[in-house]
Symmetry: C2
Subunit: 269 residues, 2 copies
């Protein structure tokens, strides 16, 4: 098949690598000229993507705040595509945009849970999706053939598929992904103000601040698109933190011990 990949960053670049290795003809484009050239030199791209209308599969791997606009712009020209997918971390807005653009039958929203604080083509690699959860969010009208093709492609890349409604995806990811990201950033800012640098941290502190190195533009887009559910998650965390601060002030540390025990029980599953 001929596959067009728009955006050759960490996720888009890794998808391009996998699909090229699987024998598909991959064409690509990116706002950064150098990424296209590098992907061609690496033998991943058969060429530059000039007309998405000639592709059997079109994969949108641009920041989530730009994805709906790019999709609306491309939609009228997608003559040949049997499947159109995105790979962003939020799903409700892009699925709604696909339906509004008349792509409902051919669109499947995808979100591989395979982030990394590094970004760009340089960070892309084969194997990134091996055993990673991949959420697939069809529209209300996705055709069976399009969904089957999406499943086949992601399974081929090593993903473990989980299908769900786009709204539910976004509510769940607010807790499991967006909350940890913002807490890591808040910790980084707190340490910055306290004059503590990252090389003063032990292994635990370094783990807790790794996500703070993530792409700021990407994450501000995600936060804006999913502000409601993220706000709920931050509020719940804040309540938990207030409880912990109150326990810390009490003599004996029994309450805090119970909280630490509770966290460990959750950790052990």
């Amino acid at each position: 098949m001929r596959v067009g990949v728009i955006g050759l960053g960490l996720i888009g670049g890794s998808v391009a690598r996998e699909l090229a290795a699987a024998g598909h003809q991959v064409l690509g484009s990116d706002a950064r000229e150098g990424s296209v050239a590098a992907a061609q030199e690496a033998g991943v791209l058969a060429g530059r993507l000039r007309d998405a209308g000639e592709c059997d599969v079109v994969i949108l791997a641009v920041p989530v705040q730009h994805a709906p606009g790019v999709l609306a712009l491309l939609a009228p020209g997608l003559r040949q595509a049997r499947l159109v997918m995105d790979v962003g971390s939020t799903k409700a807005a892009i699925v709604a945009a696909a339906e509004a653009a008349g792509l409902g039958e051919r669109f499947v929203g995808a979100h591989p849970l395979a982030g990394d604080h590094r970004s760009g083509w340089e960070a892309s690699r084969q194997g990134l999706f091996r055993d990673a959860t991949v959420f697939l969010c069809p529209t209300h009208r996705t055709a069976e053939g399009a969904l089957l093709l999406a499943q086949e492609l992601w399974q081929g890349m090593g993903g473990r598929l989980e299908q769900m409604d786009a709204g539910e995806h976004d509510r769940r990811l607010a807790w499991s992904s967006h909350l940890p990201q913002l807490l890591s950033t808040a910790l980084a800012l707190t340490l910055a103000e306290a004059g503590v640098s990252r090389d003063q941290l032990g292994p635990g502190g370094r783990d807790m601040t790794r996500l703070a190195g993530s792409d700021a533009r990407m994450w501000s887009g995600i936060a804006a698109q999913n502000a409601g559910p993220i706000g709920d998650a931050l509020a719940a965390f804040s309540t938990q933190l207030d409880r912990m601060r109150a326990e810390l002030g009490r003599a004996g540390a029994d309450g805090l011990r119970q909280e630490l025990d509770g966290g460990r029980s959750w950790f052990e599953g």
Copy 2:
């Protein structure tokens, strides 16, 4: 030298392994009978520690809340020791206890920044201190010979030494170590309440919750001994979080973008 190690958990066990491998005669004790037997079987211990008074070096590796009491109990019998050390995550209380027990000249508080969420003899290993920061906190009266011996032993285990006052150590570690630990626990409790399990997390979320698996007894002891500085750190984080929640509610996400940029700048150092 004959070295007595009291407490054969992750840190004490790893110290025993290193010093035995370096050719010292290591004797050990632990509240868990099985750990002593396992350490003897592994060829690490030359025998059970029965009389700390016969040791040239005594290393206390028990939970921080018990360390001052154990030290006070042992002090009168330490006939031969040239150096007495602990390895706990807080330093002010144990240094004060050493001075009060008349061990000021022979005592050096040590804290290797080499934690792990796993604990116990089973988790101990050689190499744990390789390139790890090791804080050394002398008393007001530590003799030069005792300090030099402590430096030599930790350098031999691969540590990078940093000497500082015990009070300053505890204030700094409240930010760099105790704050990340408690945030990881608070995140675990938040996710538990939201019905999100750890296997639903991606790589970032798993990193952010690894510390929640830490030993609860150990950490409640640390929190109780360093409650003041930790309270300051939690308060500063809470302020940062409130700011982030306010930015999230604003249209455009410019403020949040600036925060994410700020976190990334700190990350990149």
